[in-house]
Symmetry: C2
DNA sequence: CGGATCAGACTTCCATACAAGACTGGCACG
DNA sequence: CGTGCCAGTCTTGTATGGAAGTCTGATCCG
Protein backbone atom coordinates (compact mmCIF):
# COMPACT_ATOMS: atom_id res chain seq x y z
CA UNK A 1 0.00 0.00 0.00
CA UNK A 2 3.01 2.29 0.13
CA UNK A 3 3.23 2.23 -3.65
CA UNK A 4 0.99 4.84 -5.25
CA UNK A 5 -2.36 3.33 -6.09
CA UNK A 6 -4.98 4.15 -8.64
CA UNK A 7 -7.47 6.59 -7.25
CA UNK A 8 -10.39 4.20 -7.60
CA UNK A 9 -8.55 1.53 -5.71
CA UNK A 10 -8.79 3.70 -2.63
CA UNK A 11 -12.54 3.23 -2.75
CA UNK A 12 -12.19 -0.50 -2.95
CA UNK A 13 -9.77 -0.73 -0.06
CA UNK A 14 -12.04 1.34 2.15
CA UNK A 15 -15.14 -0.62 1.27
CA UNK A 16 -13.30 -3.88 1.85
CA UNK A 17 -12.20 -2.63 5.23
CA UNK A 18 -15.79 -1.80 6.08
CA UNK A 19 -17.00 -5.20 4.91
CA UNK A 20 -14.36 -6.84 7.08
CA UNK A 21 -15.37 -4.69 10.02
CA UNK A 22 -11.90 -3.17 10.33
CA UNK A 23 -13.36 0.30 10.16
CA UNK A 24 -16.71 1.07 11.65
CA UNK A 25 -19.39 3.72 11.58
CA UNK A 26 -18.19 7.17 12.48
CA UNK A 27 -14.55 6.53 11.65
CA UNK A 28 -12.83 9.67 10.51
CA UNK A 29 -11.26 9.56 7.07
CA UNK A 30 -9.09 12.63 6.64
CA UNK A 31 -8.17 13.70 3.15
CA UNK A 32 -4.55 14.20 4.08
CA UNK A 33 -4.32 10.95 6.01
CA UNK A 34 -5.63 8.94 3.10
CA UNK A 35 -3.41 10.85 0.69
CA UNK A 36 -0.22 10.03 2.56
CA UNK A 37 -1.39 6.49 3.25
CA UNK A 38 -1.92 5.80 -0.43
CA UNK A 39 0.95 7.99 -1.60
CA UNK A 40 -1.23 10.23 -3.69
CA UNK A 41 -2.14 13.87 -3.54
CA UNK A 42 -5.00 15.18 -1.49
CA UNK A 43 -6.94 15.66 -4.70
CA UNK A 44 -7.08 11.94 -5.36
CA UNK A 45 -8.07 11.12 -1.81
CA UNK A 46 -10.77 13.72 -2.00
CA UNK A 47 -12.12 12.31 -5.24
CA UNK A 48 -12.32 8.87 -3.71
CA UNK A 49 -14.23 10.30 -0.76
CA UNK A 50 -16.61 12.12 -3.08
CA UNK A 51 -17.33 8.86 -4.87
CA UNK A 52 -17.92 7.08 -1.59
CA UNK A 53 -20.23 9.88 -0.54
CA UNK A 54 -22.27 9.42 -3.71
CA UNK A 55 -22.50 5.73 -2.84
CA UNK A 56 -23.83 6.57 0.59
CA UNK A 57 -20.88 5.15 2.48
CA UNK A 58 -19.23 8.25 3.88
CA UNK A 59 -20.41 11.75 4.51
CA UNK A 60 -18.71 15.07 4.95
CA UNK A 61 -19.24 17.51 7.75
CA UNK A 62 -18.26 20.87 6.26
CA UNK A 63 -14.77 21.95 7.25
CA UNK A 64 -14.75 19.33 9.95
CA UNK A 65 -13.98 16.15 8.15
CA UNK A 66 -15.10 13.05 6.34
CA UNK A 67 -16.66 10.25 8.33
CA UNK A 68 -17.97 6.81 7.64
CA UNK A 69 -21.74 7.10 7.81
CA UNK A 70 -23.39 6.51 11.13
CA UNK A 71 -26.96 5.67 10.20
CA UNK A 72 -29.78 6.52 12.55
CA UNK A 73 -31.95 3.68 13.71
CA UNK A 74 -34.59 4.65 11.17
CA UNK A 75 -32.05 4.73 8.36
CA UNK A 76 -30.80 1.36 9.51
CA UNK A 77 -34.28 -0.06 9.20
CA UNK A 78 -34.59 1.44 5.74
CA UNK A 79 -31.37 -0.22 4.65
CA UNK A 80 -32.58 -3.61 5.84
CA UNK A 81 -35.96 -3.08 4.23
CA UNK A 82 -34.22 -2.21 0.99
CA UNK A 83 -32.20 -5.38 1.11
CA UNK A 84 -35.26 -7.43 1.88
CA UNK A 85 -37.15 -5.98 -1.07
CA UNK A 86 -34.29 -6.23 -3.53
CA UNK A 87 -33.07 -9.70 -2.63
CA UNK A 88 -36.56 -11.07 -2.56
CA UNK A 89 -37.26 -9.42 -5.89
CA UNK A 90 -34.20 -11.06 -7.36
CA UNK A 91 -35.12 -14.51 -6.14
CA UNK A 92 -38.65 -14.09 -7.44
CA UNK A 93 -37.45 -12.80 -10.79
CA UNK A 94 -34.88 -15.47 -11.47
CA UNK A 95 -36.26 -18.24 -13.56
CA UNK A 96 -33.71 -20.93 -13.01
CA UNK A 97 -30.46 -21.25 -11.18
CA UNK A 98 -27.67 -23.31 -12.62
CA UNK A 99 -26.17 -26.07 -10.44
CA UNK A 100 -22.79 -24.36 -10.53
CA UNK A 101 -24.31 -21.49 -8.56
CA UNK A 102 -25.43 -23.84 -5.83
CA UNK A 103 -21.96 -25.36 -5.75
CA UNK A 104 -20.43 -21.94 -5.42
CA UNK A 105 -22.75 -21.03 -2.57
CA UNK A 106 -22.05 -24.28 -0.77
CA UNK A 107 -18.33 -23.62 -1.09
CA UNK A 108 -18.96 -20.18 0.32
CA UNK A 109 -20.78 -21.61 3.30
CA UNK A 110 -17.87 -23.92 3.99
CA UNK A 111 -15.62 -20.89 4.17
CA UNK A 112 -18.09 -19.14 6.45
CA UNK A 113 -18.05 -22.05 8.87
CA UNK A 114 -14.28 -22.17 8.77
CA UNK A 115 -14.04 -18.48 9.62
CA UNK A 116 -16.51 -18.90 12.46
CA UNK A 117 -14.71 -21.94 13.80
CA UNK A 118 -11.32 -20.24 13.73
CA UNK A 119 -12.63 -17.06 15.33
CA UNK A 120 -11.41 -15.02 12.39
CA UNK A 121 -13.64 -12.03 13.01
CA UNK A 122 -12.64 -10.13 9.90
CA UNK A 123 -13.21 -13.02 7.54
CA UNK A 124 -16.42 -13.84 9.35
CA UNK A 125 -17.84 -10.35 8.92
CA UNK A 126 -16.75 -10.23 5.32
CA UNK A 127 -18.02 -13.65 4.35
CA UNK A 128 -21.40 -13.33 6.01
CA UNK A 129 -22.05 -10.19 3.99
CA UNK A 130 -20.41 -11.57 0.89
CA UNK A 131 -22.83 -14.47 0.69
CA UNK A 132 -25.52 -12.11 -0.47
CA UNK A 133 -23.20 -10.41 -2.93
CA UNK A 134 -22.21 -13.81 -4.27
CA UNK A 135 -25.81 -14.79 -4.71
CA UNK A 136 -26.70 -11.72 -6.70
CA UNK A 137 -23.51 -11.98 -8.74
CA UNK A 138 -24.52 -15.48 -9.63
CA UNK A 139 -27.71 -13.96 -10.93
CA UNK A 140 -25.43 -12.31 -13.45
CA UNK A 141 -26.70 -8.78 -13.20
CA UNK A 142 -23.92 -6.29 -12.63
CA UNK A 143 -26.27 -3.41 -11.86
CA UNK A 144 -27.94 -5.29 -9.06
CA UNK A 145 -24.62 -6.61 -7.83
CA UNK A 146 -23.20 -3.12 -7.45
CA UNK A 147 -26.27 -1.90 -5.64
CA UNK A 148 -26.25 -4.82 -3.27
CA UNK A 149 -22.57 -4.53 -2.53
CA UNK A 150 -22.97 -0.97 -1.29
CA UNK A 151 -26.08 -1.89 0.59
CA UNK A 152 -24.24 -4.73 2.25
CA UNK A 153 -21.50 -2.37 3.32
CA UNK A 154 -24.09 -0.17 4.96
CA UNK A 155 -25.65 -3.13 6.66
CA UNK A 156 -22.35 -4.29 8.06
CA UNK A 157 -21.78 -0.83 9.52
CA UNK A 158 -25.21 -0.89 11.04
CA UNK A 159 -24.79 -4.29 12.58
CA UNK A 160 -21.65 -3.14 14.32
CA UNK A 161 -23.30 0.10 15.41
CA UNK A 162 -26.41 -1.38 16.87
CA UNK A 163 -24.76 -4.55 18.03
CA UNK A 164 -26.87 -7.03 16.17
CA UNK A 165 -27.17 -10.01 18.42
CA UNK A 166 -28.00 -12.31 15.56
CA UNK A 167 -25.47 -15.04 15.99
CA UNK A 168 -23.00 -15.74 13.21
CA UNK A 169 -23.77 -19.44 13.37
CA UNK A 170 -27.47 -18.77 13.02
CA UNK A 171 -26.82 -16.56 10.00
CA UNK A 172 -24.72 -19.25 8.46
CA UNK A 173 -27.40 -21.86 9.09
CA UNK A 174 -29.93 -19.63 7.40
CA UNK A 175 -27.61 -19.19 4.45
CA UNK A 176 -27.46 -22.94 4.19
CA UNK A 177 -31.23 -23.26 4.34
CA UNK A 178 -31.55 -20.72 1.53
CA UNK A 179 -29.01 -22.62 -0.51
CA UNK A 180 -30.88 -25.86 0.07
CA UNK A 181 -34.09 -24.29 -1.14
CA UNK A 182 -32.30 -23.03 -4.22
CA UNK A 183 -30.78 -26.45 -4.84
CA UNK A 184 -34.20 -28.03 -4.74
CA UNK A 185 -35.44 -25.41 -7.17
CA UNK A 186 -37.95 -24.02 -4.71
CA UNK A 187 -37.32 -20.35 -5.40
CA UNK A 188 -40.43 -19.20 -3.61
CA UNK A 189 -39.25 -20.85 -0.42
CA UNK A 190 -35.78 -19.43 -0.93
CA UNK A 191 -37.26 -15.95 -1.22
CA UNK A 192 -39.28 -16.42 1.95
CA UNK A 193 -36.26 -17.71 3.81
CA UNK A 194 -34.25 -14.76 2.59
CA UNK A 195 -36.83 -12.29 3.85
CA UNK A 196 -36.97 -13.89 7.23
CA UNK A 197 -33.18 -14.18 7.36
CA UNK A 198 -32.69 -10.47 6.78
CA UNK A 199 -35.59 -9.80 9.11
CA UNK A 200 -33.86 -11.85 11.79
CA UNK A 201 -30.69 -9.83 11.53
CA UNK A 202 -32.69 -6.61 11.62
CA UNK A 203 -34.67 -7.82 14.61
CA UNK A 204 -31.40 -8.30 16.47
CA UNK A 205 -30.69 -4.60 16.38
CA UNK A 206 -31.10 -2.59 19.51
CA UNK A 207 -31.63 1.11 19.28
CA UNK A 208 -29.65 1.71 22.43
CA UNK A 209 -26.77 3.58 20.91
CA UNK A 210 -28.80 5.75 18.64
CA UNK A 211 -30.72 8.17 20.77
CA UNK A 212 -27.82 9.68 22.55
CA UNK A 213 -24.20 10.04 21.54
CA UNK A 214 -23.28 9.89 25.20
CA UNK A 215 -24.51 6.35 25.60
CA UNK A 216 -21.04 4.93 25.69
CA UNK A 217 -20.00 7.40 28.33
CA UNK A 218 -23.27 7.02 30.16
CA UNK A 219 -22.89 3.30 30.43
CA UNK A 220 -19.32 3.69 31.53
CA UNK A 221 -20.40 6.14 34.21
CA UNK A 222 -23.20 3.91 35.32
CA UNK A 223 -20.67 1.23 36.05
CA UNK A 224 -18.78 3.49 38.40
CA UNK A 225 -21.06 6.35 39.42
CA UNK A 226 -19.21 9.01 41.31
CA UNK A 227 -21.88 11.52 42.14
CA UNK A 228 -25.26 12.77 41.00
CA UNK B 1 -28.64 29.32 -14.22
CA UNK B 2 -26.18 32.15 -14.82
CA UNK B 3 -25.93 32.72 -11.09
CA UNK B 4 -23.32 30.48 -9.47
CA UNK B 5 -24.92 27.31 -8.22
CA UNK B 6 -24.03 24.90 -5.50
CA UNK B 7 -21.92 22.09 -6.82
CA UNK B 8 -24.44 19.41 -5.98
CA UNK B 9 -27.16 21.26 -7.82
CA UNK B 10 -25.27 20.60 -11.03
CA UNK B 11 -25.95 16.91 -10.53
CA UNK B 12 -29.63 17.53 -10.11
CA UNK B 13 -29.92 19.71 -13.17
CA UNK B 14 -28.17 17.14 -15.31
CA UNK B 15 -30.24 14.25 -14.02
CA UNK B 16 -33.42 16.25 -14.52
CA UNK B 17 -32.37 16.98 -18.08
CA UNK B 18 -31.82 13.28 -18.65
CA UNK B 19 -35.17 12.40 -17.15
CA UNK B 20 -36.81 14.96 -19.41
CA UNK B 21 -34.99 13.56 -22.40
CA UNK B 22 -33.27 16.88 -23.11
CA UNK B 23 -29.88 15.23 -23.08
CA UNK B 24 -29.44 11.72 -24.34
CA UNK B 25 -26.95 8.89 -24.19
CA UNK B 26 -23.51 9.77 -25.44
CA UNK B 27 -23.85 13.49 -24.89
CA UNK B 28 -20.54 15.09 -24.12
CA UNK B 29 -20.29 16.93 -20.83
CA UNK B 30 -17.06 18.89 -20.80
CA UNK B 31 -15.67 20.10 -17.51
CA UNK B 32 -15.05 23.55 -18.85
CA UNK B 33 -18.43 23.78 -20.55
CA UNK B 34 -20.28 22.88 -17.39
CA UNK B 35 -18.08 25.19 -15.35
CA UNK B 36 -18.85 28.24 -17.45
CA UNK B 37 -22.49 27.23 -17.80
CA UNK B 38 -22.94 27.10 -14.05
CA UNK B 39 -20.51 29.92 -13.29
CA UNK B 40 -18.26 27.77 -11.17
CA UNK B 41 -14.68 26.62 -11.49
CA UNK B 42 -13.67 23.47 -13.28
CA UNK B 43 -13.12 21.83 -9.93
CA UNK B 44 -16.79 21.99 -9.05
CA UNK B 45 -17.89 20.75 -12.44
CA UNK B 46 -15.44 17.89 -12.17
CA UNK B 47 -16.71 16.92 -8.74
CA UNK B 48 -20.26 16.84 -10.02
CA UNK B 49 -19.15 14.59 -12.87
CA UNK B 50 -17.32 12.30 -10.49
CA UNK B 51 -20.46 11.93 -8.42
CA UNK B 52 -22.52 11.20 -11.50
CA UNK B 53 -19.96 8.64 -12.55
CA UNK B 54 -20.29 6.89 -9.20
CA UNK B 55 -24.04 6.84 -9.76
CA UNK B 56 -23.55 5.17 -13.11
CA UNK B 57 -24.95 8.04 -15.13
CA UNK B 58 -21.87 9.36 -16.89
CA UNK B 59 -18.52 7.86 -17.68
CA UNK B 60 -15.15 9.28 -18.50
CA UNK B 61 -12.97 8.34 -21.38
CA UNK B 62 -9.46 9.21 -20.20
CA UNK B 63 -8.21 12.51 -21.57
CA UNK B 64 -11.01 12.50 -24.11
CA UNK B 65 -13.98 13.67 -22.18
CA UNK B 66 -16.99 12.92 -20.04
CA UNK B 67 -20.03 11.42 -21.68
CA UNK B 68 -23.49 10.41 -20.62
CA UNK B 69 -23.45 6.62 -20.52
CA UNK B 70 -24.39 4.77 -23.63
CA UNK B 71 -25.36 1.35 -22.35
CA UNK B 72 -24.89 -1.69 -24.53
CA UNK B 73 -27.94 -3.74 -25.28
CA UNK B 74 -26.94 -6.25 -22.63
CA UNK B 75 -26.49 -3.51 -20.04
CA UNK B 76 -29.85 -2.12 -21.03
CA UNK B 77 -31.45 -5.46 -20.34
CA UNK B 78 -29.71 -5.61 -16.98
CA UNK B 79 -31.07 -2.22 -16.04
CA UNK B 80 -34.60 -3.28 -16.86
CA UNK B 81 -34.15 -6.57 -15.02
CA UNK B 82 -32.92 -4.65 -12.01
CA UNK B 83 -35.97 -2.42 -12.06
CA UNK B 84 -38.25 -5.39 -12.41
CA UNK B 85 -36.70 -7.16 -9.46
CA UNK B 86 -36.57 -4.10 -7.21
CA UNK B 87 -40.01 -2.71 -7.94
CA UNK B 88 -41.58 -6.10 -7.61
CA UNK B 89 -39.73 -6.65 -4.39
CA UNK B 90 -41.05 -3.40 -3.05
CA UNK B 91 -44.64 -4.17 -3.91
CA UNK B 92 -44.33 -7.61 -2.37
CA UNK B 93 -42.72 -6.25 0.77
CA UNK B 94 -45.15 -3.45 1.43
CA UNK B 95 -47.81 -4.47 3.83
CA UNK B 96 -50.39 -1.83 3.25
CA UNK B 97 -50.64 1.30 1.20
CA UNK B 98 -52.44 4.35 2.54
CA UNK B 99 -55.23 5.85 0.45
CA UNK B 100 -53.31 9.11 0.15
CA UNK B 101 -50.71 7.25 -1.90
CA UNK B 102 -53.34 6.08 -4.33
CA UNK B 103 -54.65 9.63 -4.58
CA UNK B 104 -51.19 10.90 -5.31
CA UNK B 105 -50.64 8.30 -8.00
CA UNK B 106 -53.98 9.08 -9.61
CA UNK B 107 -53.08 12.76 -9.67
CA UNK B 108 -49.80 11.79 -11.26
CA UNK B 109 -51.58 9.84 -13.98
CA UNK B 110 -53.77 12.83 -14.72
CA UNK B 111 -50.63 14.85 -15.32
CA UNK B 112 -49.22 12.10 -17.51
CA UNK B 113 -52.30 12.14 -19.69
CA UNK B 114 -52.20 15.91 -19.91
CA UNK B 115 -48.58 15.84 -21.05
CA UNK B 116 -49.38 13.18 -23.63
CA UNK B 117 -52.41 15.07 -24.88
CA UNK B 118 -50.52 18.33 -25.22
CA UNK B 119 -47.57 16.70 -26.96
CA UNK B 120 -45.20 18.00 -24.30
CA UNK B 121 -42.43 15.53 -24.94
CA UNK B 122 -40.22 16.66 -22.10
CA UNK B 123 -42.94 16.46 -19.48
CA UNK B 124 -44.09 13.17 -20.94
CA UNK B 125 -40.66 11.57 -20.66
CA UNK B 126 -40.19 12.94 -17.18
CA UNK B 127 -43.60 11.97 -15.85
CA UNK B 128 -43.60 8.46 -17.24
CA UNK B 129 -40.38 7.76 -15.40
CA UNK B 130 -41.39 9.73 -12.36
CA UNK B 131 -44.41 7.53 -11.75
CA UNK B 132 -42.13 4.80 -10.53
CA UNK B 133 -40.09 7.17 -8.42
CA UNK B 134 -43.31 8.49 -6.90
CA UNK B 135 -44.45 5.01 -6.09
CA UNK B 136 -41.29 4.07 -4.27
CA UNK B 137 -41.19 7.41 -2.49
CA UNK B 138 -44.67 6.71 -1.24
CA UNK B 139 -43.23 3.54 0.19
CA UNK B 140 -41.26 5.90 2.39
CA UNK B 141 -37.86 4.36 1.98
CA UNK B 142 -35.26 6.91 1.00
CA UNK B 143 -32.60 4.34 0.20
CA UNK B 144 -34.79 2.58 -2.31
CA UNK B 145 -36.03 5.88 -3.70
CA UNK B 146 -32.49 7.04 -4.46
CA UNK B 147 -31.61 3.76 -6.10
CA UNK B 148 -34.70 3.78 -8.25
CA UNK B 149 -34.25 7.38 -9.29
CA UNK B 150 -30.84 6.67 -10.76
CA UNK B 151 -32.08 3.47 -12.32
CA UNK B 152 -34.94 5.36 -13.91
CA UNK B 153 -32.50 7.86 -15.38
CA UNK B 154 -30.61 5.00 -16.93
CA UNK B 155 -33.77 3.51 -18.30
CA UNK B 156 -34.84 6.77 -19.88
CA UNK B 157 -31.48 7.00 -21.61
CA UNK B 158 -31.86 3.45 -22.83
CA UNK B 159 -35.34 3.98 -24.16
CA UNK B 160 -34.14 6.90 -26.23
CA UNK B 161 -31.11 4.96 -27.42
CA UNK B 162 -32.89 1.84 -28.51
CA UNK B 163 -36.04 3.60 -29.56
CA UNK B 164 -38.48 1.81 -27.34
CA UNK B 165 -41.64 1.49 -29.33
CA UNK B 166 -43.74 1.08 -26.25
CA UNK B 167 -46.35 3.75 -26.67
CA UNK B 168 -46.68 6.47 -24.07
CA UNK B 169 -50.42 5.95 -23.88
CA UNK B 170 -49.95 2.25 -23.27
CA UNK B 171 -47.47 2.98 -20.49
CA UNK B 172 -49.91 5.37 -18.92
CA UNK B 173 -52.71 2.82 -19.14
CA UNK B 174 -50.50 0.30 -17.42
CA UNK B 175 -49.69 2.80 -14.70
CA UNK B 176 -53.39 3.21 -14.18
CA UNK B 177 -53.95 -0.52 -13.99
CA UNK B 178 -51.22 -0.79 -11.38
CA UNK B 179 -52.78 2.03 -9.41
CA UNK B 180 -56.16 0.34 -9.60
CA UNK B 181 -54.70 -2.86 -8.24
CA UNK B 182 -53.09 -0.92 -5.42
CA UNK B 183 -56.35 0.86 -4.68
CA UNK B 184 -58.13 -2.45 -4.36
CA UNK B 185 -55.41 -3.68 -2.05
CA UNK B 186 -54.37 -6.45 -4.38
CA UNK B 187 -50.64 -6.03 -4.04
CA UNK B 188 -49.82 -9.33 -5.65
CA UNK B 189 -51.64 -8.30 -8.78
CA UNK B 190 -49.98 -4.88 -8.68
CA UNK B 191 -46.59 -6.57 -8.53
CA UNK B 192 -47.45 -8.80 -11.47
CA UNK B 193 -48.69 -5.85 -13.47
CA UNK B 194 -45.53 -3.95 -12.66
CA UNK B 195 -43.33 -6.77 -13.86
CA UNK B 196 -45.21 -7.07 -17.12
CA UNK B 197 -45.27 -3.30 -17.53
CA UNK B 198 -41.51 -3.01 -17.28
CA UNK B 199 -41.22 -6.13 -19.40
CA UNK B 200 -43.35 -4.48 -22.06
CA UNK B 201 -41.14 -1.44 -22.19
CA UNK B 202 -38.07 -3.65 -22.37
CA UNK B 203 -39.62 -5.76 -25.07
CA UNK B 204 -40.07 -2.64 -27.16
CA UNK B 205 -36.34 -2.15 -27.41
CA UNK B 206 -34.62 -2.91 -30.65
CA UNK B 207 -30.96 -3.64 -30.70
CA UNK B 208 -30.59 -1.96 -34.06
CA UNK B 209 -28.51 0.99 -32.94
CA UNK B 210 -26.16 -0.98 -30.82
CA UNK B 211 -24.21 -3.03 -33.29
CA UNK B 212 -23.29 -0.17 -35.51
CA UNK B 213 -22.65 3.45 -34.64
CA UNK B 214 -23.46 4.43 -38.20
CA UNK B 215 -27.10 3.49 -37.94
CA UNK B 216 -28.26 7.07 -37.67
CA UNK B 217 -26.31 8.13 -40.70
CA UNK B 218 -27.28 5.00 -42.56
CA UNK B 219 -30.96 5.63 -42.05
CA UNK B 220 -30.58 9.25 -43.03
CA UNK B 221 -28.79 8.29 -46.20
CA UNK B 222 -31.41 5.73 -47.02
CA UNK B 223 -34.00 8.47 -47.09
CA UNK B 224 -32.24 10.43 -49.79
CA UNK B 225 -29.72 8.22 -51.51
CA UNK B 226 -27.56 10.14 -53.94
CA UNK B 227 -25.29 7.49 -55.31
CA UNK B 228 -23.90 4.07 -54.55
C1' DC C 1 -3.75 11.81 -56.03
C1' DG C 2 -2.89 8.97 -51.57
C1' DG C 3 -0.80 8.44 -47.36
C1' DA C 4 2.25 9.44 -43.59
C1' DT C 5 3.79 12.89 -40.41
C1' DC C 6 3.63 16.47 -37.34
C1' DA C 7 2.20 20.82 -35.15
C1' DG C 8 -1.32 22.81 -32.43
C1' DA C 9 -5.51 22.99 -30.14
C1' DC C 10 -8.24 20.91 -26.86
C1' DT C 11 -9.23 17.74 -23.31
C1' DT C 12 -8.71 15.63 -18.83
C1' DC C 13 -5.43 14.68 -15.04
C1' DC C 14 -3.21 15.88 -10.94
C1' DA C 15 -0.63 18.64 -7.72
C1' DT C 16 -0.27 22.61 -5.22
C1' DA C 17 -1.41 26.96 -3.02
C1' DC C 18 -4.15 29.69 -0.53
C1' DA C 19 -8.74 30.81 1.67
C1' DA C 20 -11.77 30.12 5.28
C1' DG C 21 -14.32 27.78 8.81
C1' DA C 22 -13.96 24.73 13.15
C1' DC C 23 -11.81 23.22 17.12
C1' DT C 24 -8.35 23.38 21.08
C1' DG C 25 -5.82 25.06 24.75
C1' DG C 26 -4.16 28.70 27.31
C1' DC C 27 -4.63 33.02 29.29
C1' DA C 28 -6.71 36.80 31.38
C1' DC C 29 -10.31 38.64 33.91
C1' DG C 30 -14.24 38.76 37.06
C1' DC D 1 -12.50 28.85 40.82
C1' DG D 2 -15.23 29.60 36.66
C1' DT D 3 -15.94 31.84 32.31
C1' DG D 4 -15.15 34.11 28.13
C1' DC D 5 -11.90 35.38 24.69
C1' DC D 6 -8.47 34.69 21.36
C1' DA D 7 -4.58 33.01 18.90
C1' DG D 8 -2.84 28.89 16.84
C1' DT D 9 -3.67 24.74 14.48
C1' DC D 10 -6.08 21.60 11.79
C1' DT D 11 -9.51 20.60 8.64
C1' DT D 12 -11.88 20.98 4.22
C1' DG D 13 -13.15 24.22 0.17
C1' DT D 14 -11.89 26.10 -4.24
C1' DA D 15 -9.13 27.97 -7.87
C1' DT D 16 -5.40 27.66 -10.88
C1' DG D 17 -1.41 26.09 -13.50
C1' DG D 18 1.04 23.00 -15.94
C1' DA D 19 1.61 17.91 -17.47
C1' DA D 20 0.20 14.69 -20.61
C1' DG D 21 -2.74 12.32 -23.80
C1' DT D 22 -5.96 12.65 -27.96
C1' DC D 23 -7.78 14.33 -32.00
C1' DT D 24 -7.79 17.31 -36.24
C1' DG D 25 -6.18 19.25 -40.11
C1' DA D 26 -2.54 20.94 -42.81
C1' DT D 27 1.54 19.90 -45.10
C1' DC D 28 4.91 17.33 -47.28
C1' DC D 29 6.56 13.47 -49.87
C1' DG D 30 6.34 9.61 -53.06
Amino acid sequence: MQVPERSDSIDRVIVDAILAGRITAGTRLGEQSLATLFSVSRTMAREALIRLEARGIVQVSPRRGWFVIKPSFEEAQEAFQARQAIEMGILMAVQRLGPEVVDKLRAHIVRERAAIASDDLEARSFLLGDFHVCLVEAFGNRVLADILRDLTARTVLISALYQSVHDATASCDEHEAITDALASGDLKRAADLMVSHIGNVEAGLTRAKDDDPLTNLRQALKLSPRRE
